[in-house]
């Protein structure tokens, strides 16, 4: 990272610290303050948007680790979310306390991810993308036929030590806290030995193998970790909706998640945030504009509400990939540099 000339880390501990400069501490504090004070002044619609955003960010973080960092393209991410959601719903109904349920959902998602990640040991690229798409259909089939997915499960409000998460406000804090912890973990995973192994595999798996990286192990672990995140995100969505059903986990959502990675920037944690908020914002804008457009074109009013957000997001994604495939993070870095060297050109 960039630091002004003459300022160095004087100890190793400082060099590898998670937060390195006072400015970063200030930014972290402000972000946390914003996140946790939001329910006090935001309206219900905005709160709803942010709850969905934190859930999406949790899911996209998993995909960032799996696809962005390790290069294993997964079109089945929402399928793994659904696995976590159903595992969570069933164990919540049995009265298991929430912290364990979160871990159970994560493990269920991760296990499913590892099973369907097995083809990744032999294939990659387009073939893998399609194998995970097949996994999505198989998971959906299994959930519908063996776990009552068509009707769904209603989920009782989860409790921790007698404290019940039954209002939107309380659920907001549950979700925001989980998302925060998951972000911290994801950032650290990318910094440690495993994260570096993932990047090596993404760049060239055979070369990584010759350098002593156990490709098979790390590919499976990437699937496990990425789908662990998916499982937890699925559980959070279930808790928020109060209902687990396969309808919440559609294939288009998975396409949007992959789009968020690209829009944000392939392999950065902050990119996951930027991409998620960008795409969700466009979807929301589509939802807001649709009724007005329906008044202007009354002939198409019937399908306008459903179609406009899809059109908007699809178009935004296409334009983004064609014009800036390196994502918002890249733009952000350019902006930071041009501010720093201000009177001069970049």
């Amino acid at each position: 990272m960039w630091r002004p000339s003459g300022i160095f880390s004087v100890t190793y501990r400082k060099e590898i610290a998670f937060i390195q400069t006072p400015f970063q501490w200030v930014m972290l504090f402000l972000a946390l303050l914003f996140g946790f004070s939001l329910p006090f002044y935001a309206s219900l619609e905005i709160l709803d948007f942010f709850i969905k955003a934190w859930i999406t960010v949790t899911a996209v973080l998993g995909l960032t680790l799996l696809t962005g960092n390790c290069g294993q393209i997964s079109l089945g991410h929402t399928g793994f979310m659904a696995v976590g959601a159903f595992a969570g719903a069933i164990s919540l109904a049995k009265g298991i306390p929430l912290p364990f349920v979160i871990i159970i959902s994560g493990l269920a998602g991760g296990a499913a991810g590892m099973i369907f990640g097995l083809p990744a040991l032999r294939i990659k690229g387009f073939y893998l993308a399609f194998a995970t798409l097949a996994a999505y259909y198989i998971i959906q089939f299994a959930l519908i036929h063996y776990f009552g997915g068509e009707v769904g499960h209603s989920v009782p409000p989860p409790t921790v030590l007698g404290f019940t998460f039954d209002s939107d406000l309380r659920i907001y804090y549950l979700i925001a806290t989980t998302c925060f912890i998951m972000t911290y973990a994801a950032k650290n995973i990318t910094r440690c030995k495993w994260g570096r192994a993932f990047v090596a595999i993404r760049d060239h798996d055979i070369a990584a193998n010759t350098l002593g990286v156990n490709v098979y192990f790390y590919k499976l672990m990437a699937f496990f970790i990425g789908c662990f995140y998916a499982g937890v995100a699925g559980l959070l969505l279930t808790v928020y909706m109060g209902w687990a059903s396969v309808d919440h986990y559609s294939l288009s959502n998975c396409i949007w998640y992959l789009g968020m990675i690209i829009v944000g920037g392939m392999n950065s944690i902050s990119g996951a945030y930027m991409g998620a908020f960008f795409i969700l914002g466009i979807e929301e804008a589509g939802n807001i504009i649709a009724p007005t457009l329906a008044e202007i074109f009354p002939k198409l009013a019937g399908s306008m509400i459903g179609a406009i957000p899809i059109l908007f997001v699809g178009l935004a994604l296409m334009i983004f990939i064609m014009l800036e495939p390196r994502g918002l993070v890249h733009r952000w870095e350019i902006m930071k540099t041009s501010v720093r060297i201000f009177p001069f050109h970049h």
Binding site: R122, F130, A131, L258
Partner: protein, 295 residues
């Protein structure tokens, strides 16, 4: 026995749909190394366009078929010129997301323009059915589908192996740079490939209107066709000719004999299960080329 034969005949005709759509995948993959995830949506969009021309604007049947095919060609040309141009040298993920986003965009367009109802297109063939070998029953539209698919595919095989344009496409598929250096216009070949693949997609869409009706959810057929292309091997035209009908037969047999055991839905699932098994055993498909990777 009679029942099995019946399933086999219907499966065979249905499988030809997959072959027809899968030709597009293989042609594009061979010439440019891109897997077009939007193929299914293009199929259905052309079907919708055909429906609009013939039912809403009242244009005669043959003319509207021709216009839908021209529309397919135009769409293919636009995709090649405006979208894929910018993706040269980008990671595979960007290509996948671009075609997927394009597919969703087309879905949104269809949703907006034609709604969610299943529309009934004009019949292309007279109603009625024939019985083959005294047992399997096959209605005329499926029979026509079978025949047209075989004509198209053998036409492609001839075109690919005998004409100059077909040979230049083959050369481009082999090595783009070398093809360019011997005087083949690579860009022109790319455009031609996309046009051909979108026209076959449009032909598939028009034929499909008689079997399944017109609805944007039928676009999922693109994924099944992709499974056929992957099982057959992405580089191989003979592969999809063999695998498509086989997949259709397996699908119907699975629906008939496995559904009572697992509770339905096997028909949509069978291709994906087969695909996963094949990918684990032979990652490059049954007729595909084994590539040896180097550092």
């Amino acid at each position: 026995m009679e029942k099995i034969l019946n399933y086999v005949m219907v499966g065979l005709a249905n499988g030809c749909i997959y072959s027809l759509v899968a030709i597009g995948f293989v042609l594009i993959y061979k010439s440019s190394g891109i897997l077009n995830f939007a193929q299914g949506s293009i199929v259905i969009l052309s079907a919708y366009v055909f429906y609009s021309f013939s039912m809403q604007f009242g244009i005669p049947l043959l003319v509207s078929i021709a216009m839908a095919l021209v529309f397919g060609a135009f769409l293919g040309f636009c995709i090649e010129r405006f979208m894929l141009d910018r993706l040269i040298g980008q990671p595979i993920l960007a290509v996948i997301i671009l075609t997927l986003a394009f597919s969703e965009f087309l879905k949104g367009t269809m949703y907006l323009g034609w709604g969610t109802d299943i529309l009934n297109a004009p019949p292309l063939f007279p109603k009625g059915e024939i019985s083959l070998f005294g047992a399997g029953h096959l209605d005329y539209s499926r029979l026509a589908f079978l025949i047209i698919t075989f004509i198209l595919i053998s036409g492609f095989a001839l075109f690919y192996n005998k004409t100059k344009t077909g040979l230049s496409m083959k050369a481009t598929a082999d090595d783009t740079v070398v093809a360019g250096s011997v005087g083949i216009r690579v860009r022109k070949v790319f455009a031609l490939t996309w046009i051909i693949s979108c026209v076959t997609a449009a032909a598939g869409g028009i034929l499909l209107t008689n079997i399944m009706g017109v609805n944007y959810q039928v676009g999922e057929i693109g994924y099944k066709a992709m499974a056929v292309a992957l099982v057959g091997g992405l580089e191989s035209l003979p592969g999809i000719i063999v695998i498509g009908p086989l997949m259709g037969i397996v699908e119907f047999l699975a629906a008939a004999y496995l559904d009572p055991l697992v509770g339905g839905g096997m028909r949509d699932l069978a291709p994906f299960i087969i695909l996963l098994i094949v990918l684990i055993i032979r990652p490059y498909g049954i007729f595909g080329w084994k590539r040896i990777e180097r550092i």
